[in-house]
């Protein structure tokens, strides 16, 4: 990875950590954990900054190692701090030092890391991102092992806790911790400790690990509502300063960056064009020298005979030539300025081969003959060739002119030797730095590019000193020489660096000025507001005389003045309110006086009313007249049970006269007795007087008249009350019910008759069908059996229907008996369930029974109770599909016993639920699927319970099921005499 990418990563980490720090600090509640996170974060920022600056090569090596160690300690402080949150300190328990064991380990490690070279031996130069950035010491392994054990233990405990814990929120918390530790383990431990231990050179990944850790922290803090609305608000002053400063920063940075980059661009262009010009000049200069030398040699070649003296003379007048020699037609040196070379055979040399016919320049080479870097120029001469060698050091004069190239600029000339290496033949300004064997990342030298015949501008190539340069390359084809004109980047851009420093200083100065100005301005704005705020505080405490008193003419000033005015008006209205209260108090006391007067007036009126009373007594005669004309028998008794009023019908029934009865005890003439035993039955009259409530006459009461005639009567006694609600007597109303009795009797007999007459033919069909089916009349075929079955079943249904109808008519006639006896309700339920056993088995229904076995025996009519269970359970069985579930529950509910039968059957359609207890009603869904029901079962249940103090209700969802609930009072059912039992 590129260093640049690392810089970006570090930069982002710092931004992230700073952001996080901001949020943490702005939290309203600074809990312990938040405080720890703040420190943790601060540590992380320092560490990132150290690495960031180190990568940017801002530190010397000594400073670097110290800072780096600090960073390292910080990094595992981070780990230990995190462990503090977790269990390691509470789990490790050496010498009962529960809390301090971990800290002890930590401090030992910190000490060794910071103050010795045992853990970290050194830090490597950070040339390349892939390099391991520290050299591990002798005890590094120990530290890594201790750290990893601590980490592993924490991880283990957390995982254990995570698996065993039940509470959901706790589980989430521990899951988060486990992830944190895993991240820590993988990225911090492996990258920072394990890799260096085994010499794997990718520790820089630690930075990535920290980023993951930070992301996790962010997530974790986010989850614990750090970013919620739970922040302290900014003060007005901050609100004013912050956007202005932020805007200033953005604008200034943009402007400075633009100026800087623009300047750099211009500087670069300038440097390049200058280098190009120089290169062009050098190129031309060399070409000129070469053509000039060639011309000189051609002139010399016109001499017919060139002796050694003559060659020496030519040599002396031509600067640059260091040897001249003549080759004959066979390529043998016949004459030379250097006598020792005479007789050498040069027939294979390029200058002989190419120079025989025309002038020729041999490109730069190392002359073996004269042991010198040279160029050779050859020209035809007297059948042979005249050759001049030019020493390449001749070109030093060209490159030594470095005018306009500044401190570091220079011109380089070189040619390629037989091995392809560049041979620099002019003087160089600096010492060459040898290439390092292992450094393959070095950029290609500009000269290598030039010798590849490239004529270009190169930015950022390293030269022979490994320094970044801007370079221009040229190539002279004729002599195969490469030209490089270059200047150090640093020098070329020096004005820009200066400019940058200027920009930065300017940036801070302007920012500072901005800050000062906005601070003062914002103070001017916020000060009156703060004053106002303080004023409000004072006024709120009750001092309405306080004035904010701002003289400013802006909005805040107006607000202050308005506020002052408001305070004044509040004070004024307070005074007004006080006055009003006083006034109203006066008014109230006046009203009280009025009221007393009114009371007196009312008393006077009451006296008048008393007088009116007398008048009212006359009205009584009218009432008497009404009373006498009422169809029912009526008499009124006073508290002493003496008759004060009686009508004609009553005296007729009693067979006496009105005069006889008035002021007599009523029982003298009106004897109410029980029909059965003839005992006196006038309790209802006495009860009415005693309780002050209307009392019904008991059933089957007879009135025995003075002449011994018995008349069945019915009705009630109502108390007579005075204006204070005190009972002063009782009105008794009764009527002759002889006729009603007769009708009842007839009805009862009809039911009885119907029950017999209807059942007899049914029994006949029943039994004959039974016998035919049983084969008593001989064997029958399958079809016959089938048809007989239908007859039998149909008849059974008829029987059921008749039974139900009879029950209904008895219930309606009120002729049914309630005969309570002490019985266990659960036993009844079980017995009914047992009757249904076959149907249940056939349909594979699951029965769920829940009984409260502590229920006492109750005084209930077992037959009626049985009917209730029969209907509830048979309905459930009938309307629940195969393999369904029926739950039967009997338990105490307040003062009642609750019976609940719930099924998973077809349910009752919502719209028809209201009608379900009506007589003969059947819901649509059951009518469609089952034809056997009578529509009477639930009606019977409800009638029974209505008559016995119970209740029935249900909940039902169509296609899901129905739950019927019924209650019977724990006190039991009241006995009732009737002519029929239900069957």
């Amino acid at each position: 990875m590129d260093l640049f990418v690392y810089n970006i990563i570090y930069f982002l980490s710092i931004v992230l950590a700073v952001g996080l720090l901001f949020f943490l600090l702005r939290r309203k509640s600074q809990s312990k954990i938040v405080k720890e996170l703040v420190w943790l974060n601060f540590g992380a920022i320092v560490w990132f900054a150290v690495d960031f600056l180190t990568l940017a090569e801002k530190f010397s090596n000594e400073v670097h190692i110290i800072i780096w160690k600090l960073g390292f300690v910080l990094s595992f402080s981070l780990v230990v701090l995190l462990l503090r949150f977790i269990v390691i300190f509470t789990q490790t328990n050496i010498l009962n030092w529960k809390k301090y064991t971990g800290l002890l380990i930590y401090f030992v490690l910190v000490f060794f890391t910071l103050f010795t070279d045992q853990v970290i031996a050194g830090v490597r130069p950070l040339l390349f991102a892939g390099d391991s950035n520290y050299v591990i010491g002798e005890y590094f392994v120990v530290m890594a092992v201790v750290m990893s054990i601590a980490l592993f233990l924490s991880f283990y405990y957390i995982l254990k806790k995570l698996v065993s814990i039940q509470d959901q929120t706790q589980k989430i918390k521990f899951r988060r911790l486990a992830i944190a530790l895993a991240v820590l383990f993988i990225f911090v431990f492996i990258t920072n400790l394990a890799f260096p231990m085994f010499g794997i050179p990718i520790p820089r990944l630690a930075a990535l690990g920290i980023i993951f850790l930070l992301i996790f922290f962010t997530y974790s803090i986010f989850k614990s509502d750090t970013f919620g609305m739970n922040f302290r608000g900014f003060k007005i002053r901050t609100k004013i300063i912050l956007p202005i400063i932020l805007t200033a920063i953005i604008v200034l940075s943009a402007a400075s960056a633009y100026s800087y980059f623009f300047t750099v661009k211009i500087l670069k262009q300038e440097a390049i064009s200058h280098l190009e010009t120089t290169a062009q000049l050098v190129h031309r200069h060399i070409e000129n020298i070469l053509s000039n030398k060639k011309e000189k040699l051609e002139i010399a070649a016109t001499h017919s005979d060139l002796s050694q003296e003559e060659l020496q003379t030519i040599l002396n007048i031509n600067e640059g030539f260091y040897e001249l020699f003549v080759l004959d037609s066979n390529g043998i040196i016949i004459s030379s300025s250097d006598i020792s070379h005479i007789g050498l055979d040069q027939s294979n040399d390029d200058y002989f081969v190419n120079g025989k016919n025309a002038s020729y320049i041999k490109p730069a080479y190392f002359s073996d003959t004269s042991k010198k870097e040279s160029i050779a120029i050859a020209t035809p001469h007297a059948g042979g060739v005249l050759v001049a060698r030019v020493g390449l050091e001749f070109f030093n004069s060209i490159v030594s002119d470095r005018t306009g190239l500044g401190e570091t600029g220079e011109i380089l000339l070189a040619y390629k030797d037989k091995n392809g290496d560049a041979v620099f033949f002019t003087e160089r300004k600096f010492e060459e730095v040898k290439k390092e064997e292992d450094s393959k990342d070095f950029q290609t030298l500009p000269m290598d590019e030039a010798l590849l015949k490239k004529e270009k501008v190169f930015l950022s190539l390293h030269d022979y000193r490994h320094v970044g340069v801007i370079s221009v390359t040229r190539y002279i084809d004729e002599v195969e020489i490469g030209i490089v004109v270059k200047i150090d980047e640093q020098e070329a851009f020096a004005p820009a660096t200066g400019l940058l420093n200027f920009f930065i200083i300017r940036f801070f100065i302007v920012l500072f000025l901005f800050f000062i100005i906005t601070y003062i301005i914002s103070g001017k704005i916020s000060k009156p507001i703060i004053l106002l705020q303080k004023g409000i505080g004072i006024i709120k405490k009750g001092n309405l005389d306080h004035k904010v008193g701002t003289q400013k003419k802006d909005e805040v000033g107006e607000l202050s003045r308005a506020f002052d005015e408001m305070t004044t008006s509040i004070k004024q209205s307070q005074l007004e309110v006080e006055t009003k209260v006083q006034e109203q108090t006066k008014e109230i006391s006046k009203n009280a006086q009025n009221l007393a007067n009114q009371q007196k007036a009312i008393l006077n009126i009451l006296e008048d009313v008393e007088e009116e009373k007398i008048k009212v007594s006359h009205e009584r005669d009218k009432i008497d007249a009404i009373l006498y004309s009422i169809g029912d028998a009526v008499f009124v008794v006073n508290k002493n049970l003496r008759i004060t009023m009686i009508n004609q019908i009553a005296v007729d029934m009693a067979a006496c006269s009105i005069d006889q009865c008035i002021n007599q005890s009523y029982y003298e003439h009106l004897k109410f007795v029980h029909e059965k035993d003839g005992k006196l039955n006038d309790k209802f009259i006495k009860d009415a007087i005693k309780t002050g409530e209307v009392q019904e006459m008991a059933n089957h009461t007879l009135l025995i008249s003075s002449d011994g005639k018995k008349t069945p009567v019915a009705d009630s006694a109502a108390p007579l009350k005075d204006k204070d609600g005190k009972v002063i007597g009782c009105v008794v109303v009764f009527r002759d019910v002889t006729h009603e009795r007769q009708i009842d009797q007839a009805k009862t007999e009809f039911v009885s008759l119907a029950s017999h007459q209807l059942r007899t033919p049914l029994s006949t069909i029943n039994w004959y069908a039974e016998m035919l089916l049983a084969g008593d009349a001989g064997k029958i075929t399958e079809d016959q059996k089938k048809y007989l079955d239908e007859i039998y079943k149909g008849n059974q249904r008829m029987v059921g229907l008749v039974n139900a109808l009879l029950n209904v008519s008895r219930l309606e006639l009120g002729t049914f008996t309630i005969e309570p006896e002490m019985a266990n309700i659960i036993d009844i339920a079980k017995s009914v369930l047992n009757e249904q056993k076959q149907n249940i088995k056939k349909k594979q229904l699951v029965i769920n029974e829940t009984y409260d076995v502590t229920l006492p025996k109750m005084s209930i009519d077992t037959k009626l109770t049985r009917i209730i269970f029969q209907n509830l359970i048979s309905n459930a069985v009938k309307y629940t599909p195969e393999k369904g579930k029926i739950s039967i529950k009997i338990e105490k509910l307040n003062e009642d016993v609750l019976i609940q039968v719930a099924d998973t059957g077809m349910g009752i359609p919502k719209l028809q639920q209201k009608k379900i207890f009506e007589k003969l009603f059947r819901a649509d869904n059951v009518r469609e699927t089952d034809t056997e029901g009578t529509g009477l079962g639930l009606y019977i249940i409800k009638s029974i319970l209505d008559n016995t103090g119970g209740k029935v209700w249900f909940e039902s969802v169509e296609k899901k099921g129905t739950s019927f609930s019924a209650t019977i009072p724990l006190s039991g059912m009241q006995s009732k005499k009737g002519t029929k039992e239900l069957s």
Partner: protein
């Protein structure tokens, strides 16, 4: 030994059905439609081990009268009586039970074989 049962039932079709079923179940059967006939059978035929009795009978007297007479006679007092009737007023049922009949059935609610099985079981126990 086969048990002889006296069936006192006024409705002929029912009587025949009862008779047929009882014969099939291995009883000797004699029948009567009135209290008088029934008493006559007891007197003349003898050897009656069990009585099947309906409440409403032909003639003025009903089943209750018959049972009352039976229980007053030492000869017949111990003969078990099964009342099978459609008239189920509680007073009557109580009267029958208090007179000491073995069991009371509502005709239409029971199958013949159920009643016969009960009678057989009762007799088996007695023996």
């Amino acid at each position: 030994m086969e048990n002889t049962i006296l069936v006192v039932e006024d409705e002929t079709p029912l009587q025949e059905a009862i008779k047929a079923k009882l014969l099939n179940s291995g009883f000797e059967v004699t029948t009567a439609r009135t209290v008088g006939q029934a008493l006559g059978v007891l007197e003349d035929v003898g050897g009656i081990s069990v009585i099947w009795l309906d409440h409403y009978l032909l003639g003025k007297e009903d089943g209750l009268d018959f049972v009352a007479k039976l229980k007053n006679d030492d000869k017949w007092k111990s003969i078990p009586v099964f009342v099978v009737s459609n008239t189920a007023s509680p007073d009557k049922v109580k009267s029958y039970i208090s007179l000491g009949v073995s069991k009371y059935y509502t005709k239409s609610d029971y199958r013949l074989d159920q009643i016969i099985a009960d009678i057989k079981e009762f007799l088996d126990k007695k023996e």
